[in-house]
């Protein structure tokens, strides 16, 4: 369904992503991991068409997404890393705007918007400007905007950011439910525990290059570790994390 084929992206002469390849089929969830600056957000922007690759292609159903970007985006739900929204708009106005861009019939838009606002506990805040929303509320608005047109693909960039424990659990089950309904999901996150529970595939990126890719069991076997956290630390961490933490404590306590 969604395929990255030999993706390269350079900012000037600085490489951000180098030779990234993967395929996400219906009902699959790809967990996309990497430390800060590894190229995750660049990949997300390439997959959503917000950036064009320097080399390579992003294919949707075998076609380059840039051939008809607007039609591709109508089948895509996207939750960006940061909840940058027009603060003076109310939640409902923002969702109505997105629904209009998506060319959703107004009765369906209204019905789904009402239901989703209610289910995600935002109904009573719908007429309030989003500038007064908490981070979690803004994140939930973005989730509704991404889901309300029943997209075939979901690209989620740190979707749990700011969500409370209950909303995070709801979200975890939601991903599993959508996966069962045949949606293809690209899941970019730092929350390794959730990635382990919801993803069917794993891709780990470091300095723009893929260093591990496959089903979670395959990667476990390859690396020889039992959890995603251990896998991640083994392939990515250049230093002993507990030692770094102890050094920080030493600097604070003992330096005079």
């Amino acid at each position: 369904m969604l395929e990255a084929k030999g993706l390269f992206k350079y900012y000037g002469s600085v490489p951000a992503v180098r030779n990234v390849n993967f395929h996400i089929g219906p009902g699959q969830v790809l967990g996309y991991l990497g430390p800060n600056g590894s190229g995750k957000s660049t990949t997300v922007k390439l997959l959503t068409g917000l950036l064009e690759p320097t080399r390579g292609q992003v294919l949707f159903s075998g076609k380059n997404i840039h051939d008809n970007l607007v039609s591709y985006r109508k089948r895509l739900g996207y939750v960006p890393e940061e909840a940058n929204l027009y603060g003076y708009m109310t939640g409902e106005e923002y969702l109505a705007m997105v629904g209009t861009f998506r060319e959703m019939p107004s009765h369906i838009l209204r019905h789904r918007m009402n239901k989703l606002l209610e289910l995600l506990s935002l109904a009573e805040h719908r007429h309030v400007p989003m500038s007064s929303y908490s981070k979690g509320m803004r994140q939930r608005i973005l989730l509704i905007a991404a889901l309300m047109d029943d997209p075939e693909i979901l690209i989620l960039d740190e979707p749990l950011s700011g969500l409370d424990a209950v909303s995070s659990l709801v979200f975890r089950y939601l991903i599993q439910g959508l996966c069962l309904k045949g949606k293809a999901i690209f899941y970019c996150s730092h929350v390794l525990e959730v990635v382990e529970k919801v993803c069917t595939q794993l891709l780990i990126l470091q300095k723009g290059e893929v260093i591990a890719h496959g089903s979670i069991d395959d990667v476990r076997r390859q690396i020889g570790q039992s959890t995603v956290e251990d896998i991640f630390l083994q392939v990515v961490a250049e230093k002993d994390v507990s030692r770094i933490a102890n050094d920080i404590v030493d600097v604070i306590i003992h330096t005079r």
Partner: protein
């Protein structure tokens, strides 16, 4: 010595209180405001711009007061303390206008905001110290504005007046009186505005204060414009009256300041002038007291409650602009994308503080223009004056339309929140060239939807059905063409583009707008009034207007597609 001072300054800067003062002061001048969309014109550039009007006007006056020019004009005996009164009044208005405008511009940065609260309150700094630092910063900000705006003219103007025929005996009292007066005018304006801000803050709940401060800004802008509009006529009126205080002009602070200058020059024998000079001093002193009291009261009341209110929209009154019936042109828009962007643009215009302020300024300017024309009409006595004033009423919709449409066009260039643009970037196809449809729809809704009906009503009432309808039709067509001219190269969604293009060639754009104002607001209505004498002459406009329309169409057709496609970022390269 220099090294010693430098060391002292470096040491002082380390002091937390000095750091706070600098933080607040720099922000008032637009420094250290990285989140701002204003692009951060440097402090130096702002100060140079402030000094320019005083320098330029003083230099122009060198010629006026030159002995040769006065000889050629047949002007004989010259008393600098009497002959310079209109120019002295002008400098007072200039000082008040410039300082008032800058304070209105930087209004939002004067009081500590949520960012200050988040950064300062958890630190070991007392509330009193934050207040005092803010107050000192306000004082420094006002002082710097006043000095920079007036310093050049306080030296150059006395030189211009007295360089050819003056004596040292006259020079010093004249220069002293002039300098003190224009500085006092600046201080008065700054304190009047700060007192208004402080009183609102002290009296109103913080949420309501934000809305009220917007209204106050509008009122102050109108007051400043009235001062500017009256600037030319007040000295003449004063000269004709024996007792100016008996007139309503006695309530104008500018007149008090002029009286202060006359008193300081020592050439005043009129008790009323002395009374007004005293009023200038007394009111300034009272304002100073009000500023101190209300700021402290407002600060105590509001600052600690900032987190409860700061994220709320400052404009809760305009929550649903699209439900306003005349604005529902969206139903006529063809594509969903254009419709969504149109709603987005209207909401931004009605709710974003910056854009509302800009539009309020334009409305204030339009209101003053209309008031001036209508007052001229009623003040006309002779037949020729009446005919001229009657004709000038034809220009009303042209002037208002031009100001609002150009104001909108300027507002489109000011981005509202560039980080949130991803939603629009995500959905809009750059190749579809929808920007002009959106801009056009917004301009129709915000300006023509009410201006054309008003024009019909007043022109039919004034000139009867045929001329009234002809005038409205002619104005409507001209306004539509003006919109097409304004958006001929437009290719952005209003309020979204990162780089405001007017910055790259602003002097040229300003000159074009001024020329356009003269052409559209006065020349076209004059031609229309000539043509209306014999109505058939109006037909001459048909080929001209059609020609302009076709010219614009051809120009668009010849533009490259890449120059028409939608953009969200603009380079500052011309």
């Amino acid at each position: 010595m220099r090294e010693y001072l430098s060391q002292k300054w470096t040491a002082a800067k380390r002091h937390p209180w000095v750091k706070l003062v600098l933080l607040f002061t720099l922000r008032m001048f637009g420094g250290g405001d990285s989140d701002s969309n204003e692009g951060g014109a440097g402090i130096g550039a702002i100060l140079v711009l402030l000094a320019m009007p005083g320098i330029l006007v003083s230099l122009l006056l060198l010629e006026k007061y030159g002995s040769l020019i006065r000889f050629l004009r047949g002007q004989g005996a010259f008393d600098p303390f009497v002959s310079t009164i209109p120019d002295e009044y002008f400098f007072i208005v200039l000082s008040m206008g410039v300082i008032g405008s800058v304070i209105l511009w930087r209004w939002e940065t004067i009081f500590p905001d949520k960012r200050d609260f988040q950064n300062l309150v958890h630190l070991p700094i007392s509330l009193g110290r934050i207040f005092l630092a803010n107050l000192v910063a306000i004082g420094l900000f006002a002082l710097l504005l006043i000095v920079v705006t007036n310093l050049a003219s306080s030296i150059l103007f006395p030189v211009a007046v007295l360089e050819s025929e003056g004596t040292i005996k006259d020079f010093f009292p004249f220069a002293f009186g002039h300098a003190v007066t224009i500085f006092a005018a600046g201080v008065f304006t700054a304190m009047a505005i700060f007192a208004a801000l402080g009183t609102l803050m002290a009296v109103l709940p913080y949420g309501m204060f934000r809305v009220a401060s917007l209204v106050a800004k509008f009122v102050i802008a109108i007051a400043l414009l009235i001062l500017l509009v009256l600037g030319g006529s007040v000295p003449d009126t004063l000269a004709k009256e024996v007792h100016p205080s008996g007139l309503n002009l006695g309530y104008l602070p500018t007149v008090w300041m002029l009286a202060l200058a006359q008193t300081l020059w020592g050439h005043n024998t009129d008790a009323h002038v002395s009374e007004m000079a005293r009023r200038a001093v007394n009111v300034s002193g009272t304002l100073f007291f009000i500023v101190l009291v209300t700021y402290w009261a407002g600060f105590r009341k509001s600052f600690q409650r900032i987190p409860e209110f700061a994220e709320r929209s400052a404009l809760p009154l305009w929550r649903r602009p699209s439900s306003f019936a005349p604005l529902r042109v969206e139903t006529l828009l063809l594509t969903n994308a254009v419709r969504a962007c149109y709603r987005f643009a209207l909401r931004t215009l009605f709710r974003s503080g910056t854009h509302v302020q800009l539009m309020l300024a334009v409305i204030a300017l339009s209101a003053i223009t209309v008031a001036k024309l209508v007052l001229d009409f009623y003040a006309a006595h002779t037949l020729s004056e009446k005919t001229s004033a009657y004709d000038s009423l034809l220009s009303l919709p042209f002037l208002v339309g031009f100001l609002i449409l150009c104001g909108l066009r300027l507002a489109f260039e000011i981005p509202v929140d560039i980080r949130a643009n991803w939603t629009l970037k995500f959905w809009l196809d750059p190749a579809k060239q929808q920007a002009r449809s959106i801009a056009r729809a917004v301009m129709y809704s915000i300006c023509l939807s009410w201006l054309i009906p008003i024009t019909v009503v007043y022109s039919v009432r004034l000139w009867g059905w045929i001329d009234g309808l002809l005038h409205t039709l002619f104005f409507g067509v001209c306004a539509l063409l003006l919109i097409e001219v304004l958006i001929v190269k437009y290719r952005k969604i209003p309020f979204t583009c990162v780089f405001p293009s007017y910055k790259s060639h602003s002097p040229l754009v300003l000159a074009l707008y001024l020329l356009g104002f003269i052409f559209f607001g006065t020349y076209i209505p004059h031609l229309e009034s000539e043509a209306l004498i014999s109505r058939w002459d109006m037909l001459w406009f048909l080929p001209v207007l059609s020609g302009i329309y076709l010219g614009l169409k051809t120009y668009r057709r010849q533009m490259l597609d890449m120059d028409k496609s939608l953009i969200f970022e603009e380079s500052d390269q011309l």
